[in-house]
Symmetry: C2
DNA sequence: CATACAAATGTTAGCGCTGTCATTTGTCAA
DNA sequence: TTGACAAATGACAGCGCTAACATTTGTATG
């Protein structure tokens, strides 16, 4: 039996036998070296190396009722915004014994609920979830989770536990104000995949144009489709087919903005003179496009890294002095909006 | 004791107690329903629902010596190419009880080795690794892995187990041939992050230009830096500072190509008339850029999905009729190379 | 040198589940 | 009805590890 299952698997007991100590001492030597005398510790380490012992995380999890896995729920794997957050999360766990398990909610609240249950059944060391629009059930699950929880991407009034994000609404408001300040009056909004964050950007846009008395429903172009560069081209075509009275476009994200830029180039619409263009997220390419495109820089990697740091601190028993962190954003004003200024808000 | 640890946790035994059967019967009702009488099965299912029982994957893993986790090793999380592969992998496991655990090797063979050991210690149901350039040690680990293994992204002569990919070398060869066929003679190669796949693309390029007697070392621009759009701009500037005798550029990937395109626009270099431009991967935006950019389409999502399918088939005990799959590629000839044709190779 | 106490190590009993084998129940032919 | 056999269910042990408690060893003190 044993011979078959554990084919060659070295256990704590094996190490103990060779080193002439009990299994638990080996366990301690590995996890809490200071509890074992230096002499023994060294002998054990030698045997571990010699035998090529690798701790079994599954057994450890069962015995100690905890894992070293941080569960992360994000709505999309492909969206480059989340890819950046992931990178941040990875850099955060790097060098620690923790690993990361992702769940893709695909922008579905129900899928989020389901994944949450799955994750929670695995005794995560911590949980990182996207946004603040969980279902009632999800919130309950998170509240009762016996591990630290971080909500990322947004700020909101009632954090489940900890939170790192920024205000999409304020960011969009500032971007729109920037367009207005630079002389644009007929400012369109392009929004794809109207998820909660996009909705809040729309809110910010609306607040700004309404305040300035520039609101026109005809300038609102939204679609449930996922945003792509091609969609940006299309939305511009759609808009222009409807009206020529547009002098700026605030895009819900940089993919759309890039599409708009290409389409403007094709149609020989001068950016920023005929049309001002502003994106969101400040993807790397925006700064080197032709012309460089104004965008709202968000700190996506930082968000991931901070979230992990908070989880790790809590797991280590430290308390987190600032459990709610507003990372802010930065308006990168560039040529596409006749931009010179550069302002910062939040955090 | 118990009360504290398992706070509210419902176990198989709990379900069994309420349903008046033994724990093992509940286990069977859940895993192999056909082994339990319909009547009992129904009663058990009711109790499971009533109590909100969720199986504990950790305990199951320890007892059965296997998990439902597929380990995936990729060299980068941010690179959009791998993001697409991930999406494919996700769509592959969707609806199955399997989940995915990623490891980021950051293009390091040693990190790959380390992660491999970690993953293997967790009894994965299967392993998906990127490329064919594992270290000797890694190959040994993979060979001895007691689970199916799929190498993705590339084709190679000696698969560890299964393989899904395409020939980067052939793809680059065809792309370069296309440039030559369309009248370009001074064809530069831009390569960033010279990982094995980039190296093979370079090989393909070299084969084509040498065959045509068009090789010039001065047209080879490579850098270990990660590729970005900005880097594309820079490499073009560098090249032009060195020589004006260039009439086409084959970029190692689409990020670089996009940078080159923007820089050409800025410098009023006409694409495709002054300079032909070809990318690699056919990111969505290439088709709608201005002008649309020729690129080599690769089937990244498909690669991920197929890899998962192969693992699942093997886990289910089926045998995989075609354990080595060449997915091929497709040259998307567009305006940036005066392209009309559209050819296919591989698979 | 006995005492007290801390440090170091060991013993025991599971964690929740599943593999294996044993037992019970049901079914059918003779 | 009985026996033979399959189907359904159960008992038991153990996966590899760690928490909690128990014991031993070392060390300082009077």
């Amino acid at each position: 039996m044993k011979s078959d299952r554990s084919a060659g698997k070295v256990t704590l007991a094996d190490v103990g036998r060779v080193a002439n100590v009990s299994a638990i001492t080996v366990s301690r030597a590995l996890r809490k070296p200071e509890m074992v005398s230096p002499k023994l510790r060294q002998r054990i380490e030698e045997v571990v190396a010699e035998l090529g012992y690798v701790p079994d995380p599954v057994a450890r999890a069962l015995a100690s009722d905890r894992t070293d896995v941080i569960g992360v729920l994000i709505p999309s794997v492909t969206n480059s915004v989340f890819a950046d957050v992931l990178r941040g999360i990875y850099s955060g766990v790097e060098g620690s014994p923790f690993s990361v398990q992702f769940g893709n909610t695909r922008y579905s609240v129900l899928e989020e609920e389901r994944l949450l249950r799955v994750f929670l059944s695995q005794r995560p060391a911590g949980l990182i979830v996207s946004g603040i629009d969980q279902s009632e059930t999800s919130r309950t699950l998170l509240t009762q989770a016996r591990c630290p929880v971080v909500q990322i991407m947004e700020m909101g009034p009632a954090p489940v536990d900890m939170m790192v994000g920024f205000s999409h609404c304020d960011a969009a408001y500032d971007a729109t104000r920037h367009l207005i300040a630079n002389g644009y009056r007929r400012i369109a909004f392009f929004g794809a995949r109207m998820d909660p964050r996009t909705q809040r950007r729309l809110e910010g846009y609306l607040r700004a144009v309404k305040e300035a008395g520039l609101f026109d429903e005809g300038l609102l172009i939204t679609t449930p489709r996922a945003s792509t560069v091609e969609l940006g081209c299309q939305l511009l075509s759609d808009l222009l087919a409807r009206t020529q009275a547009v002098d700026a476009i605030f895009c819900n994200n940089d993919d759309l903005a890039l599409g708009v830029l290409f389409e403007c180039q094709r149609r020989r619409i001068a950016v920023p003179d005929d049309i001002g263009l502003c994106g969101f997220n400040d993807l790397e390419m925006m700064a080197v496009a032709n012309p460089p495109v104004t965008s709202v820089r968000t700190f996506r990697q930082e968000m991931g890294r901070r979230a992990v740091e908070m989880v790790l601190a809590r797991v280590a028993g430290k308390d987190v002095p600032q459990p709610v962190v507003d990372l802010g954003y930065e308006l990168m004003a560039r040529q596409s909006t006749r931009g010179q200024e550069r302002m910062r808000r939040g955090a």
